[in-house]
């Protein structure tokens, strides 16, 4: 699949990144890059370190070795709220929505970095706080339209079925207008129809807004269809890196993960 936008230069680089928890090495000397506007997939068996890779990019964990460079600036020690400010947004494998709030409020939290009114201004409401609230509400409604979740905007997220919760989480990530979107198994637990919808959304986000997407996914059909390049991890090491076709035909990858049709 060719991207509608031309794929640009490398926007994220990992060099020799290693991450260990106590004695367990989650990531072992990983070097890879992600180019602007592309869709990069990360695949591999369970426990290979895929989520840890996203967590390291995101700032949730800090690698013991190696450097991470985002848009030319090294930033391997940043905290998550700093990476969020840089334009990196993320969804989680186990949905990390705020259960006490409605869909609309959840997505509005995604805009919190754009809202500058002080607490005092918010207490008074009229003036800057009100204006900001309405402006951001308009933006959030755009995302809601885009992901077709208008009918549930006031529902508490705890009541939604799993597939819709995943969509709301994606909406929250998109609301931040990120330049890099990290998706951790966005289609896990979905049926065929829901997967098709989700694929469409991911592709639309990439085409319309030019967002660079890094996604972890187990469904090989999805990966081969929508991604521009693929990284394969196994036991914390990189064992494959290239276009979907290259990876599909690599012997190492087939042995470790993909297998052959019987």
């Amino acid at each position: 699949m060719t991207a509608v936008r031309a794929i640009g230069d490398s926007v994220l680089r990992l060099d020799g990144v290693s991450l260990a928890f106590g004695g367990v090495k989650a990531l072992n000397d990983i070097s890879l890059d992600v180019r602007e506007h592309e869709i990069r997939a990360i695949i591999g068996p369970n426990g290979a370190g895929k989520s840890s890779l996203l967590n390291v990019i995101n700032g949730v964990y800090h690698p013991q070795q190696g450097t991470i460079t985002f848009r030319g600036k090294p930033r391997h020690d940043m905290d998550t709220h700093e990476t969020a400010a840089l334009g990196i947004a993320r969804t989680f494998q186990n949905i990390a929505l705020f259960r006490g709030m409605s869909v609309l409020d959840n997505i509005m939290t995604g805009r919190n970095l754009k809202m500058k009114a002080t607490v005092l201004e918010q207490a008074i409401w009229f003036g800057r706080a009100r204006r900001e609230e309405l402006e951001n509400r308009a933006k959030v409604e755009e995302v809601i339209d885009f992901l077709e979740i208008q009918h549930i905007r006031k529902t508490p997220v705890g009541r939604l079925p799993y597939g819709l919760q995943k969509r709301v989480e994606l909406a929250r990530a998109l609301a931040a207008e990120p330049s890099l979107l990290l998706l951790d198994e966005p289609m896990a637990g979905m049926n065929v129809e829901e997967k098709q919808d989700m694929c469409r959304f991911v592709l639309d986000v990439n085409e319309q807004y030019g967002t660079t997407v890094v996604l972890i996914e187990h469904d090989m059909g999805v990966v081969m269809d929508i991604s521009d390049r693929v990284v394969v991890l196994d036991y914390g090491r990189k064992i494959g890196d290239g276009t979907p076709d290259e990876v599909r035909n690599s012997k190492t990858v087939i042995d470790a993960y993909l297998g052959v049709p019987h």
Binding site: N55, N94, A96
Partner: protein
């Protein structure tokens, strides 16, 4: 120097008393994951019931037995009417329910037995032991030593119970995850009934000792609040931790009152353990013996 040792030992021994109350907390927390704020009021209830029965003419042994039965019954009622309906609620709800429970039990105790202060005599006198005092000049109370001995026995029993028996393992499973324990067929309700009964027994022992030392009065419940810093130091789920924590709190509290108190007008005992616990929490959030909490995302 002698005086220092007296204060220290006195503090250590009063720390043993705190540990006894903390033990009750630890038991229930280890077994059900519930932080039982009402432990103090259980101690109060036990002491008051025992004294009340004695006042009505029951002999020591019979009063003890009836009180023990009452505590077990109370534990069963708590399990049935408070814990069971709240299975799988977040911990904070259970905690707040136990706060409500503490008020309920305190009110009930005073309703049944009245609110007068009473003395409690369990046969051990609060006088210095001659065989220590004569050579060294340090006064160690017979009573305090006996209390320490009783506490030690209890601790050993409980530690063995949790680590060696099948029920102990079941209790630990329940503390970790109610639903999972149910799923493997652990009889949740029976387990909880056992635990609360044992906690009631521990509360009874603590109540008798505390009551004998300080008289049975409502202020006993505040003493129980002091068990909280003990738990923070020792960890909420550690039996040895409750002992060590109690010793530390008891001794530092007394030492601070005696040596620092005069400089700042006294009354330090009221807050010193809490502030100590607070500082400790900042350095080591899970206590001396507690398990480190790991969260996975």
């Amino acid at each position: 120097m002698q005086f220092f040792f007296e204060v220290l030992i006195g503090g250590l021994l009063s720390g043993v008393m705190y540990s006894l109350v903390a033990l009750g907390f630890v038991l229930i927390y280890k077994a059900s994951g519930v932080f039982n704020f009402a432990q103090g009021s259980l101690v109060f209830f036990a002491a008051l019931t025992f004294v009340g029965l004695m006042e009505h003419g029951l002999p020591f042994g019979l009063a003890l037995l009836v009180t023990l039965l009452a505590m077990i019954l109370l534990g069963l009622l708590i399990e049935k009417f408070v814990l069971r309906p709240l299975v799988n609620q977040p911990q904070i709800s259970l905690f707040m329910a136990t706060i409500g429970l503490s008020f309920l039990i305190e009110g009930l105790a005073q309703l049944l037995w009245g609110a007068n202060v009473r003395g409690l005599d369990i046969g051990i006198q609060d006088e210095p032991l001659a065989w220590i005092a004569d050579p060294t000049g340090i006064n160690v109370s017979k009573f305090d030593l006996a209390a320490a001995g009783i506490a030690a026995v209890l601790v050993v029993m409980l530690a063995l119970f949790f680590s060696r028996t099948r029920i102990g393992r079941a209790l630990r499973a329940v503390a970790d995850d109610h639903q999972a324990a149910l799923a493997v067929g652990i009889p949740l309700q029976q387990i909880w009934a056992i635990v609360w009964a044992v906690a009631g027994f521990v509360a009874l022992v603590a109540g008798l000792l505390w009551g004998a030392r300080n008289g049975v009065q409502f202020a006993l419940t505040f003493v129980a609040l002091k068990a909280l810093p003990v738990l923070i130091l020792g960890g909420f789920d550690s039996v040895p931790g409750a002992i060590v924590g109690g010793l530390i709190i008891g001794s530092t509290e007394k030492l601070a009152e005696v040596y620092l108190g005069p400089y700042v007008g006294g009354g330090i005992e009221g807050w010193f353990p809490y502030v100590l616990a607070l500082i400790f929490l900042l350095v080591r959030p899970e206590g001396l013996f507690g398990e480190k909490i790991i969260r996975r995302i």
